[in-house]
Symmetry: C2
Subunit: 330 residues, 2 copies
DNA sequence: CTGAAAGCGCTTACAG
DNA sequence: CTGAAAGCGCTTACAG
């Protein structure tokens, strides 16, 4: 039933070794036999068994993992908890396959540090720009975006469903009677930030409540924004923040400003980074499966390298609301 | 570096055969040795090589492919071109792996025709309901939805990006000066229908145009709706239809009503089914990679069966606008 | 340029 | 209940 190398070899009147060489583009095959083998493959509609192939192969795929400089530094120092987890997922996957990988910041990209020798790329981080995507499209080798998606670029990517996560979170609190929920939004051009904000907005609108959104830009003083929130709004009940890292800061600042969390005001995060469980009070947040984001992207790239698929896909991970102590569920 | 069965066997003081038996849950292992092997696996952090495993295994996975009765009939008669393609993708994938599959309509589900013996399921069709999803969640075996997603159910699924597709299509025509674009929307609770409609709406709104949407429900007379459209609107330029099957009918009806396509009025479809290329005039539409939708879903289920992943994901295929003759690009 | 043969890491009849 | 051994379908040094 199943067509194997052996069958092709018989039809083409060569050894299985030669069939394998043709398939893998070895130069050491005469044009004549190459044609014969190609015809046999065609006529039998032969496709190599991917399991056997990967078991037998000795050559390792060379993977380049690129990321914005900020992410690169954050990984090196283990400070950027989110991406540290994502990288664990990537490394776990590649270490079990025949893959070598190396990480580089995008600023090193022009130093042609061996892009040529790579078989494919993983581009990690919300900071991936259109320029970066175009650059890798030009290179012409398979690549997968991790934690970023830019509308209009039909490119393989793995993301988390920020819209759905924030929507579920806010809805949960609206259901128990909360009304004055304020959102702090990061204006950085990151797909997930935008989606989270839209999720908040949708949840509010569905309850006929006017969304109240404060923009934050990298480098700005969060504490100042917080003061403004407290000035502008009388007795806000809940502050939802675009990301755990900053939600944890918000809790601290709120304390400094003399507000009790969660008694007077609740705080909501997003990501479920490790320290969100250990801060005081522990942060109510949305869990994002970070390791899986990494391993899924690694796997997708691996499939691409194996020519398993053709059409680009967007893979979106579902999130999970995590109730902890930074906001009281009435 | 890499841990193999052999290493576990040595530590546990058994043969590799026994290690394999423990991993695969064979009953023919004494409790004592099972524990020893389990400990060895744990201590070495051993994970079987999936390629070797699948190459060596003799047992086939048993897959059940369920679908709404309408889809089932449409497949059998080869009339439902969209799903025929999806099934080709599924079959192509499974036929190359150690998988047996059988197709059943949901109406047969209660006849307990061997759900027990199945290892996993593919649920195919826009008509998959919450009830069906719940039923399969109760069964507790891996399953993946194909061409359907229901918000709130964090379940593995493979869909096409209807929003993005329709948005791109409409935008393309708006750009060249079209203004009076009318949309026929199918009210059936199908994720993609909704998304396509929203894509149309978004494109219109971005140009500050008021969306004009006519609802269609299965069983209704399309021709009547068309007459209403022609009566309500003076000189509509373009009619965008939720799906090729009906867009082709719309072309026919329009001709019957004395309208020239595309000279007087253009028609836009969605899906790129085979007959959309051969109808007169050939239909301008949005290509959905149907075979890949099937093979991607089959692959996802296979990965689930191999316990490769844990978190459920939504896999969304990008679409492509296809310019043909049923609408003039000015 | 080509083929015979070993080997990749598992599973599973088979024999005991 | 357990182990020795064959075999899954490829790739790739090795020898020619």
């Amino acid at each position: 039933m199943k067509i194997r190398t052996k069958d092709v070899a018989r039809i083409a009147n060569v050894s299985t070794a030669t069939v394998s060489r043709v398939i893998n583009g070895s130069p050491n095959v005469s044009e004549k036999t190459r044609q014969r083998v190609l015809m046999a493959i065609e006529s039998l509609n032969y496709k190599p068994d991917i399991f056997a192939k990967n078991l037998a192969k000795k050559r390792f795929y060379e993977i380049g993992i690129g990321c914005p400089d900020e992410v690169f530094r954050g990984i090196e120092s283990s400070e950027y908890q989110f991406y540290v987890k994502v990288f664990e997922g990537i490394q776990d996957y590649f270490s079990r396959k025949k893959c070598n990988y190396s990480i580089f910041p995008f600023s090193m990209l022009n130093e042609r540090d061996g892009v040529e020798e790579k078989d494919g790329f993983l581009l990690v981080g919300g900071g991936i720009s259109e320029g970066i995507i175009k650059k890798f499209q030009d290179i012409g080798k398979p690549f997968v975006l991790v934690d970023q998606f830019i509308s209009g670029y039909d490119v393989d990517c793995v993301i988390s469903n920020g819209f759905d996560g924030e929507y579920k979170l806010i809805k949960r609190f609206l259901k128990t009677g909360y009304r004055k929920i304020i959102y702090i939004h990061n204006v950085a051009k990151h797909f997930s930030y935008e989606q989270r904000m839209i999720g908040y907005r949708r949840a509010m609108r569905e309850k006929s409540l006017e969304p109240v959104i404060y923009d934050f830009a990298e480098g700005q003083d969060l504490k100042l924004i917080l003061k403004r929130i407290l000035d502008d709004n009388k007795e806000p009940e809940l502050i939802a923040v675009f990301e755990d890292r900053y939600a944890i800061d918000v809790i601290e600042y709120l304390k400094e400003l003399g507000k009790k969390v969660p008694e007077e005001i609740g705080v909501l995060g997003f990501d479920n980074i490790i320290s969100s469980a250990s801060c005081q009070p522990p942060l109510t947040t949305v869990h994002v499966p970070k390791e899986e984001m990494g391993s899924l992207a690694a796997k997708r790239l691996f499939d691409l390298l194996n020519k398993e698929d053709i059409s680009p896909v967007q893979i979106s991970l579902f999130t999970k609301v995590l109730m902890r102590k930074s906001a009281k569920l009435r």
